[in-house]
């Protein structure tokens, strides 16, 4: 059979009648025979079957290396017409050595994957995915198998999950199979990971549990948080961050105390992950009570941090009652905090009564600009009033053009420009000069 190509159609259960007809048109057994051209160091060819194709898959593949798009599309169509046999032949030529045949087979598989995934090509996609899944056991080595798994990551669906699940048991395919199942992301994919998790130990258990964090619909999968939390309890400390992240994605408030503990720990990089997880958790919690737990843990660990404030902010109605609290934070020693609060008050909290509160705050705080901190606070508030775009601030800002401090007058000028749009600078400059 060497150098002979025959494509079988059996197993193409998703093919339409039309494609079946195309595949077999004019073709009795033997019409597909032909010399492989440019097939490189072909190792073996496809087996005989019901349908026959004129060119061998590797012959087509040889023409696909940086092919012109039109020729590529035609070749992809040809290969997809007899996908099962084509895949079998191409897979037989994939090898970790990455030789010429491997390169050509890779191009051909990519053509089939991309063409079959175009909108409206559902049958072809299903047929190809099925063929790829079946061929996983025929791959010559881990590298070849991972090429196929990666293709299934792009076009695979529920039907391919069982074959991918088997790959979770293979050392050299575990990572890529897990990626593919996560990207497929269906109920069936979840169950495959869950089943594998039940048998796994050590690091593999942690990795599988972390993957469950991608399946974040608690209505469909109420047991996931418990599984991940269980894995976290047994995990090596080095693996904890990926499990924290999974639980944060799932909105599992039970992880909040562990995150808060890590946040107060000495390792800043772990604290960074914990901080990010707590922020994510506060957003993803399914109930207000759970969100409150996450936010409370954040504040307990870092009462004065921006991330705590932002987590609170994300879960808070923008009502006026919060404004005094936010304004109070503007006296923080941290410039990052002051500017964050200014940003919050600039982008949200619309309404003139809020503007008036900001003006009142200016008049009460800022120690008259006697210290540098006071001066900076005043300037920040002035800028905020300009950026809020509320015309209620206009008379107040105009009054600041008479301030005894040049820096305040300058800030007021910029805020007025921001509030009113471009003004005649010369007129305003003259006003200032008159002071």
């Amino acid at each position: 059979m060497d150098d002979t190509f025959v494509v079988i159609a059996e197993g193409n259960t998703h093919m339409t009648n039309e494609t079946m007809k195309d595949q077999t048109a004019g073709g009795g057994r033997g019409q597909g025979r032909g010399r492989g051209q440019g097939g490189g160091r072909r190792r073996r060819s496809g087996a005989a079957g019901a349908g026959v194709q004129r060119d061998g898959a590797m012959t087509v593949a040889a023409k696909l290396v940086w092919a012109d798009a039109k020729a590529g599309a035609a070749a992809a169509s040809q290969l997809l017409t007899g996908a099962t046999g084509a895949v079998r032949e191409l897979v037989a030529n994939l090898h970790a050595s990455n030789d010429e045949a491997t390169v050509q087979a890779s191009f051909a598989l990519e053509a089939m994957v991309m063409a079959s995934s175009a909108p409206g090509q559902g049958n072809r996609r299903a047929c190809l995915a099925s063929a790829l899944a079946k061929s996983l056991g025929e791959a010559a080595d881990d590298v070849a198998r991972n090429v196929l798994i990666r293709a299934l990551q792009l076009i695979g669906g529920d039907d391919e999950v069982p074959a991918l699940a088997k790959c979770l048991e293979l050392e050299g395919a575990f990572d890529t199979a897990l990626l593919a199942l996560r990207q497929i992301g269906t109920e069936k994919a979840y169950l495959a990971i869950k089943n594998s998790l039940a048998r796994a130990g050590g690091r593999r258990r942690a990795l599988l549990a972390a993957a469950l964090g991608d399946f974040d619909d608690p209505c469909c999968h109420p047991d996931i948080p418990g599984l991940v939390a269980g894995a976290l309890a047994k995990a090596d400390p080095a693996d904890a961050p990926m499990l924290w992240a999974a639980l944060a994605r799932l909105g599992h408030a039970g992880v909040a105390p562990a995150l808060a503990k890590a946040l107060k720990g000495t390792a800043k990089s772990r604290a960074a992950v914990a901080r990010g997880c707590l922020s994510l958790l506060a957003r993803n919690c399914r109930s207000e009570d759970d969100a409150a737990i996450a936010i409370a843990e954040l504040f307990k660990a870092e009462p004065d941090s921006v991330s705590s404030l932002m987590a609170l902010q994300d879960n808070m109605e923008e009502d006026e009652d919060s404004v005094p609290y936010l304004l109070g934070l503007m006296t923080s020693d941290s410039k990052v905090m002051r500017e964050t609060v200014a940003g919050i008050l600039m982008q949200g909290y619309v309404g003139s009564s809020v503007t008036e509160k900001v003006i009142s705050f200016y008049l009460q705080e800022g120690d008259g600009g006697q210290t540098q901190a006071g001066m900076e606070l005043r300037q920040t508030i002035i800028r905020l009033l300009g950026q809020r775009g509320d015309q209620v601030a206009r008379p107040f800002l105009l009054s600041l053009l008479h301030d005894r401090e040049a820096a305040i007058r300058k800030s007021a000028l910029a805020a007025i420009e921001c509030l009113l749009g471009p003004l005649d600078r010369r007129v305003l400059a003259a006003t200032i000069l008159e002071q």
């Binding site: 990519e110 991309m114 995934s117 909108p119 293709a151 604290a271 990010g276 997880c277 940003g343």
Partner: protein, 428 residues
């Protein structure tokens, strides 16, 4: 992606640009030792050397840490820093330090999102290399991390801010003035090709087919180099600087130069808060699943009819020869600011300047004002790069929703745009 991540990334900055004087910065002259900003650099390859230069030549900056998975590079960088700088192999150990103000992320793009987010969550500001991330979805996570931590983020390209815009023979500002004052009309077509002054380096950053696996050098922590990328057998061409030629890590010359070239165009067209809706490529097809190849042309169309035409001039027919860089119904601008009608070149002097942008990162760090090219507008130009590459890889016309930042009716394209990372790595 969380709703917050999406909304954060979509919201254009409402903050008015703020140009701040030295007095306001609290330092009228050369900063004292305590005023200096502590920098750390992750990734010490070709671009990493550039970043070392940025830091070592800035009197306001102090280089306190460097990191790379290749130990020889770390050693050389520590020596170059000349004292007071410590080297690391694992960026997490480096981030454990308490004294870092700014982290430079200069690793290959498959690491960008993760390391940006680590640094931001650790309370550092970030100076990030382009492309901002390796996929569209990753950019949204970075934007959200900036937001939730109140940090300052800059992307390392600057042509919207200052400097001659590559081979175009002009700065961006006069073009922006013409466009924003309506002198070219609307909609506009912009051509970014070697003929208008932009070399795409398509051939330079293609990968190599058929490379046999090689032994991993003892000097290199290959698993940490791969990080979130799927395992592939080591070949020396996979790693710096030729990683650009492999899809798992980057996206060829288009991803290398894309944000340099496309970000200013996005700014000129006032598209900082939106994205194209149709994308179509002319390229060899199929592309290889691992190795980045050549491409010819990519056309991206916005909802309002504005078009970007990218042409590599390294494959396929060249259609941008002798064509203007930017063209509207009322006028055209060619290289070296030759205009049609000619009086546009004179008129531009009289036109009002665009809104000022913060163009000094030190100012951003000290005042906490958004840098001119930040995580929001930077992510929009990052998306342009990935839209183009998705069209090249799929070989079909793609339809994109600028609001949801997902492709319409194309599951495959969306799987390219949002890919899980190899565990234990993952985005928050």
């Amino acid at each position: 992606m969380s709703k917050t991540a999406a909304s954060a990334a979509k919201s254009p900055s409402k903050a008015a640009p703020n140009v701040v004087s030295q007095e306001i910065l609290g330092s009228s002259g050369r900063p004292g030792a305590n005023d200096r900003i502590n920098h750390a650099v992750i990734g010490l390859g070709g671009m990493g050397q550039g970043h070392l230069g940025y830091v070592l030549n800035d009197p306001q900056a102090k280089l306190v840490a460097v990191c790379d998975v290749m130990q020889s590079r770390v050693k050389a960088a520590v020596e170059k820093a000349g004292g007071g700088c410590r080297g690391y192999r694992d960026f997490r150990e480096m981030i454990d330090r308490e004294d870092i103000d700014v982290v430079h992320v200069v690793t290959p793009p498959h690491w960008h999102a993760l390391q940006n987010i680590y640094a931001l969550d650790a309370g550092c500001d970030v100076w990030a290399e382009k492309p901002m991330t390796r996929t569209i979805a990753e950019g949204l996570h970075v934007a959200e991390a900036v937001r939730r931590n109140g940090r300052v983020f800059r992307l390392n390209t600057w042509f919207r801010l200052y400097g001659a815009f590559y081979g175009l023979g002009t700065e961006v500002k006069p073009l922006k003035k013409l466009v924003q004052n309506g002198l070219l009309g609307w909609p506009l077509t912009v051509r970014i090709s070697a003929h208008t002054g932009f070399a795409w380096k398509a051939s330079m950053w293609t990968g190599k087919l058929g490379l046999a696996p090689e032994p991993t050098p003892a000097d290199l922590d290959y698993d940490l180099w791969l990080g979130p990328a799927p395992f592939k057998p080591y070949t020396s061409h996979r790693v710096s600087p030729s990683f650009r030629g492999y899809w798992d890590y980057d996206g060829g010359g288009l991803a290398d130069m894309g944000q340099h070239y496309l970000d200013p165009v996005q700014y000129i067209l006032d598209k900082d808060d939106t994205s194209p809706v149709e994308i179509e490529a002319t390229a060899p097809w199929p592309q290889h699943p691992d190795v980045v190849g050549l491409w010819g042309q990519v056309e991206m169309k916005y909802a309002d009819g504005c078009k970007l035409i990218l042409e590599s001039c390294e494959w396929g027919p060249e259609e941008t020869k002798d064509k203007p860089f930017i063209e509207g119904p009322l006028g055209k601008v060619y290289r070296n600011f030759r205009t049609e009608p000619e009086r546009l070149a004179e008129l531009v002097v009289e036109l009002p300047d665009p809104e000022p942008q913060v163009s000094d990162f030190n100012v951003s760090i000290r005042t906490r004002q958004k840098f001119g090219l930040n995580e929001l507008n930077g992510n929009r130009s990052n998306i342009l790069v990935h839209l183009a590459n998705c069209a090249i890889r799929t070989g079909r016309k793609l339809h994109f929703d600028p609001e949801t930042m997902r492709f319409r009716n194309d599951e495959m394209a969306n799987r390219l745009a949002e890919q899980p990372m190899r565990l234990p790595w993952g985005l928050l």
